[in-house]
């Protein structure tokens, strides 16, 4: 049969495809619906947190930080309760990472404050003297892209049925309203916790630096 296949490239290709395709069918599909279910009481990310997730992606924190606590005593002692599938139901994409050059962050919101993050992102050595993490000072001046984060919230609500309320709706007007009523107050609260005057001044003018969104996201990780 193999001899014959080698002389008939079309059937050869079809056969290869079948052989490689069905592993995915058997391993991935059966559990798909179940793995998509959220744990009870899980809230979708706020728009500011989504903007923070974008900063997390943009500066590629997953190069060094995982968000997956494995079920070992050494891990639960260090990072808190082990991760369960339903906690990730609104994570698009998943941000588990594959390398821990720095510690896991899945529950970092439980044991670090806004102030700590602000100092750490400005100069990691100021809080962890032996740290090899780069400083992310540019997050204090770059303005977070709230509009794109809002667009993402609208998209996941409409396409995947992520349970956002009526305040997440398409169009510029709905966005402006949401920005003013929800996003800016949330940002202001974090800016005040950060004790950084420049950042606070920016937020009061209606501009949200990346660091504020980032901290909103990190505080959410619990």
């Amino acid at each position: 049969m193999f001899h014959w296949l080698e002389k008939h490239p079309f059937f050869f290709a079809v056969f290869v495809f079948v052989v490689i395709a069905f592993a995915g069918l058997i391993e991935i599909l059966p559990n798909f619906a179940e793995a998509a279910r959220p744990v009870k009481g899980l809230k979708p990310y706020t728009v500011l947190q989504l903007a923070g997730k974008e900063v997390y992606k943009k500066d590629n924190c997953i190069a060094c930080h995982s968000q997956l606590i494995r079920p070992f005593k050494a891990e639960t002692d260090r990072y808190g309760q082990y991760s369960v599938s339903g906690e990730y139901a609104y994570d698009r994409p998943f941000l588990w990472g594959s390398k821990r050059t720095g510690p896991d962050l899945h529950r970092v919101g439980n044991y670090r404050t806004s102030d700590w993050h602000a100092n750490h992102m400005w100069d990691p050595k100021s809080v962890v003297p032996a740290s090899i993490m780069p400083a992310y000072k540019h997050q204090f001046t770059n303005i977070a892209d709230i509009e794109t984060a809002y667009a993402e919230a609208v998209t996941v609500k409409n396409v995947f049925g992520t349970p956002y309320g009526d305040e997440i709706a398409p169009g510029k007007a709905a966005y402006e309203k949401h920005l003013k009523e929800k996003v800016l107050p949330e940002a202001l609260k974090i800016a005040k916790e950060m004790k950084n005057k420049d950042v606070l001044a920016m937020v009061e003018q209606g501009k949200i630096p990346e660091i504020v969104a980032m901290i909103a996201y990190l505080n959410r990780l619990k």
Binding site: K7, E75, F94, K99, A130, A151
Partner: protein, 488 residues
């Protein structure tokens, strides 16, 4: 497999991809050396602000090496060897030749857009699939063009049976196409939000655990179909061609090809051991990873035994050195991977530097060595010139071999040290080390790795110089050498 003097092969597309292989190889590995240095000496992070941080550069390193260097290398060898094993010239079809050049042009556009967008931090953040949807679409076009050319050439072939290399190229084409499409399913947010936000932004079709499964189905098998299948295609053509030896066993190549096709895809979930993926999937991933040793070693042993009775070539011909050591590293890497997939080993190894260590004995020792050897073999036939310097090739071989050994040994030690320290407890059951203790202890290993990387890069520069000089000033050859590439 004898060369057909009557047929004039067209190398225009081959040459283009050969140059991008060299250039992307240098750039990608240069970034690699920089980020290796940054882990040992963090001050190196600050030379160009946000664009120079380790985290931003790391996907650039992986993507430029994988999609720049390796994929260029696979395309170059494909356009070269497919014509020869199918006994047909690209020049015979104006359409295919045009499509080949178009494919190269689009490839250049995609590769440079990838570098720019990832440098700016525009990323879907899935590993080895960072590119956002507009680039994904362009990549689909490039890949489909490759398929059209591949099957176009096959349709015109004069040799009825497909040679082993062609099996592997076909599998590379199909495997990557399937995996890439499914993993990059994403919804552009602008179209669903009434025109809000960045046009290039998208959100993954899958969430959480499902996204992880699909991603590592891709992540693992991108390795399978680019780093493994694509490179086996290369060795099955170039080792017999350079050594003048027939492939040792047809049956073994059959067994290892179909075995690899069947087994490889199952192993993806070994990247997700101890995660929230269901236990049975993890176990399947573990088991199939161990089974994977068989077809992997099948190919490698088939290649090594091809040299049977001709081992003297190993001392005489640096290209044979590269290829024999490459298949040896392939054996090492395909034994190491399954070991890491055993659940109890993985509990220590996962998240540590042992993983990049494993990746690099595969890519530096196997993939890159094969591409270097193939490029040199082709340069003689394509440029019709003698290789510029044999002694430089020999020196490159030894420098890079030392470099790979430094790289993976230091990362083995670093990984196991860190993995053990994370779980170490004192007599009362309390954790013994804070996280930062487990970072500072790695400094010497990070330094050794950076030096290993630098040595390897020096080897790449020697290769680039040797390749360039071969192309412009190697001694002209009247007739094409049958087997062994002549070198000065």
């Amino acid at each position: 497999m004898q060369s057909n003097a009557a047929l004039e092969y067209d190398y225009s597309v081959v040459k283009l991809y050969m140059w991008t292989t060299v250039i992307f190889g240098f750039v990608g590995m240069l970034i690699g050396v920089i980020i290796a240095g940054q882990l040992a000496w963090p001050e190196l992070n600050y030379w160009i602000g946000e664009y120079g941080t380790f985290s931003r550069l790391r996907p650039l390193h992986t993507n430029v090496v994988v999609y720049g260097f390796m994929v260029s290398g696979i395309y170059a060898t494909f356009y070269y060897s497919a014509q020869r094993v199918l006994k047909v010239s690209m020049g015979e079809s104006k359409l295919l030749l045009f499509l080949g050049k178009l494919q190269f042009l689009l490839y250049l556009v995609a590769a440079s857009s990838m570098v720019i967008s990832e440098g700016m931090g525009i990323t879907a953040s899935k590993e080895y699939a960072q590119m956002e949807w507009p680039l994904d679409l362009l990549i689909v076009v490039i890949w489909v063009l490759w398929g059209v050319i591949m099957f176009g050439l096959i349709g015109m072939r004069r040799e009825k049976s497909l040679y082993i290399s062609m099996w592997y190229y076909i599998a590379t084409f199909l495997g990557v196409a399937m995996l890439y499409l499914f993993n990059n399913m994403e919804v552009p947010t602008m179209f669903f939000s009434g025109g809000l936000g960045a046009w290039y932004h998208s959100v993954s079709m899958y969430a959480g655990t499902n996204d992880a499964l699909v991603q590592w189905w891709w992540g693992h098998n991108a390795v399978a179909f680019v780093f493994t299948v694509g490179i086996i295609a290369i060795i099955y053509y170039f080792l017999p061609k350079e050594s003048g030896q027939a492939v040792y066993s047809y049956k073994l190549s059959l067994l290892s090809f179909w075995g690899l096709m069947f087994v490889y895809l199952w192993a993806g979930s070994h990247h997700l051991l101890w995660s929230t993926v269901p236990d049975w999937m993890q176990t399947m991933g573990s088991i199939f990873s161990v089974v994977l040793i068989l077809p992997s070693w099948g190919s490698a042993i088939n290649m090594l035994l091809t040299m049977k009775g001709e081992w003297n070539q190993l001392t005489e011909n640096p290209l044979i050195k590269f290829m024999v050591l490459a298949s040896t590293f392939y054996m090492l890497s395909t034994l190491e991977g399954p070991i890491q997939s055993v659940k109890s080993v993985n509990a220590i190894a996962h998240f540590t530097d042992w993983i990049p260590g494993h990746v690099h004995d595969g890519v530096l020792g196997w993939v890159a060595f094969m591409i270097f050897a193939a490029l040199m073999h082709m340069s003689v036939r394509v440029f019709k010139r003698e290789i510029y310097s044999k002694s430089m090739l020999n020196a490159q071989f030894w420098i890079q071999t030392v470099a790979v050994v430094l790289y993976f040994t230091s990362m083995w030690i670093a990984g196991i040290t860190q993995g053990m320290m994370w779980r170490a407890v004192d007599e009362y059951g309390n954790l013994m080390y804070s996280f930062i203790d487990t970072v500072t202890v790695l400094h010497p290993y990070y330094a050794i790795r950076a030096i290993g990387g630098l040595l390897y890069l020096i080897g790449v520069m020697m290769f680039a110089y040797n390749f360039f000089m071969t192309a412009v000033s190697g001694r002209k050859l009247e007739t094409e050498p049958q087997f062994r590439s002549p070198m000065a």
